[in-house]
Amino acid sequence: MKIKVNGEEQAVEGSSISIAQLLKLNEVENPGMVTVQLDGEFVDKDNYEATQVKENNEVEFLYYMGGGSV
């Protein structure tokens, strides 16, 4: 299936993948530092295992460390 992660198209095997698996697949080193949006809705950290990402879903990984014009 095809999904979008942070605006980039990504091909993923199978018909669905959990947020937790998607974080691993994208080598997010510390999931505790990221906030996840699925199709614009924030996903609670406790639901990363249960929440499934499906074909054409858009996922955003948001961090608080970057940012700003310097």
């Binding site: 608080y64 970057g66 700003g68």
Partner: protein, 410 residues
């Protein structure tokens, strides 16, 4: 891992070190390179966890923040340049002109100065209430209230408010509750369990590990819906639970230049590992000293929540797990007696700090609060006969001997 100290030592590294260093190195570098133009764009948008510029984030500082986050079971942590930077950045993020904050009549002198002298001219109203009277807190909150702020053991008045009662009010009124938890740290006080939304800490104190460095922490417990905070509502729609941290990182903290230094973050990460033992020792010493002083004929009064006759003993016991912090105040007959006693001390330092390894003594009325009138000082509970003792981790017998010989001279 269950124990606080075990966790503080063994929390897994957040990013592997290329050389396998067991201790996070000090990244004394201002700028960080990105692999591509796209990568630097994603980093600036907050969609890629990489560092760009050390005023915004730094690997050594990040390691410190993440350790605190795990130890306090928080949503996110921002390390800043001092405890006062933690307070000022948080208030500037939440409040502004024509709004108000509700706080205690009993405040650290510099915090009072921040509210009255620095922020008041910019249009922020501060409402002072008794935090020991929850009805006063409830009555002071209105539609323009942006936060309720208090210290969990006030310095130096030693007042301990019932935080669960206050958080019940702030939750009903949908106003964030901010606690200055410097003197307890997450080792003694689990702020999230008491409904606190933001905990602020001066990491200069217990965390630094012996007054090695200055720093502060803003801890977001992740239990407040930022859509209910007018200045953060728009960001909450974009960033959800990360709204507070996003505004700090992308605006207030960034623009105020309140960054923590990598070197101080290194020292404070090291200090964190021994903090539990040091807090245990200083709390034991303080209780021992309080018991001794309360029996001494030349001491007019002792104020310490660990004493069973303290009006705050029961609430402190409930909130801080049977430990009561490392600060007490004692009253002598007069200001002259206070000065005479201080000058006779041989071991204890005449200095201003708290939660150092060394025991220190100060006369708050003539120092920390010297810029205020006697009337203002009395309103804040700062009597001319009062001394503040910040107790360290020395052997108690040596501390008692120094107090004994000093009191003998009066």
């Amino acid at each position: 891992m269950k124990g606080f100290t075990t966790k503080s030592i063994h929390i897994e590294r957040f990013k592997p070190d290329v050389h396998g260093a067991l201790r996070m190195p000090v990244y004394d570098s201002v700028a960080f390179e990105h692999a591509s133009s796209k990568d630097i764009q994603l980093a600036f948008e907050g969609k890629k966890p990489s560092h760009s510029y050390s005023r915004i984030s730094n690997p050594t500082v990040e390691e410190f923040e993440q350790k605190i986050r795990v130890l306090s079971d928080a949503f996110a942590v921002l390390a800043v340049s001092s405890g006062m930077a933690a307070i000022s950045n948080t208030i500037l993020t939440l409040a502004g002109a024509n709004t108000n904050i509700v706080t205690s009549k009993h405040l650290f002198g510099n915090t009072f100065s921040l509210f009255e002298h620095t922020l008041k001219p910019w249009g922020l109203e501060t409402r002072y209430v008794s935090m020991s009277n929850p009805d006063e807190v409830a009555n002071a909150i209105d539609e323009n209230t942006r936060a309720v702020f208090l210290e969990n053991i006030t310095n130096p008045q030693m007042e301990v408010a019932d935080i669960a009662k206050i958080s019940k009010i702030t939750k009903e009124k949908k106003v964030p509750l901010i606690i200055d938890g410097t003197v307890t740290t997450p080792y003694l006080f689990k702020s999230k369990d008491f409904g606190v939304n933001i905990e602020l800490i001066s990491s200069t104190k217990y965390i630094s590990g012996g007054a090695t460095s200055v720093g502060g922490l803003i801890i977001d417990n992740g239990n407040f819906d930022w859509k209910n905070s007018p200045k953060l509502a728009e960001m909450a729609r974009k960033r959800g639970p990360g709204a507070l941290m996003s505004i700090l990182k992308q605006e207030v903290y960034r623009n105020m230049g309140a960054c923590h230094s990598a070197h101080n973050a290194y020292l404070q990460t090291l200090g964190l590992e021994t903090m539990g033992m040091r807090i245990d020792r200083s709390c034991e010493n303080t209780l021992g000293l309080a018991n001794y002083l309360s029996q001494h004929a030349k001491v007019v009064g002792v104020n310490y929540p660990g004493l069973t006759d303290s009006p705050y003993h029961e609430v402190a016991k409930k909130q801080f797990g049977g430990k009561y912090g490392g600060i007490l105040t004692m009253d002598l007959e007069s200001k002259d007696a206070c000065y005479c006693f201080m000058d006779e001390l041989k071991l204890i330092k005449r200095a201003t700090n708290i939660n150092d390894n060394k025991t220190m003594i100060i006369h708050p009325n003539s120092t920390i609060y010297c810029e205020y009138s006697e009337e203002e000082k009395l309103g804040m509970g700062i009597r001319p006969t009062m001394l503040r003792v910040a107790v360290g981790i020395e052997d108690l017998e040596d501390l008692l001997n120094d107090f004994e010989q000093g009191l003998d001279k009066l």
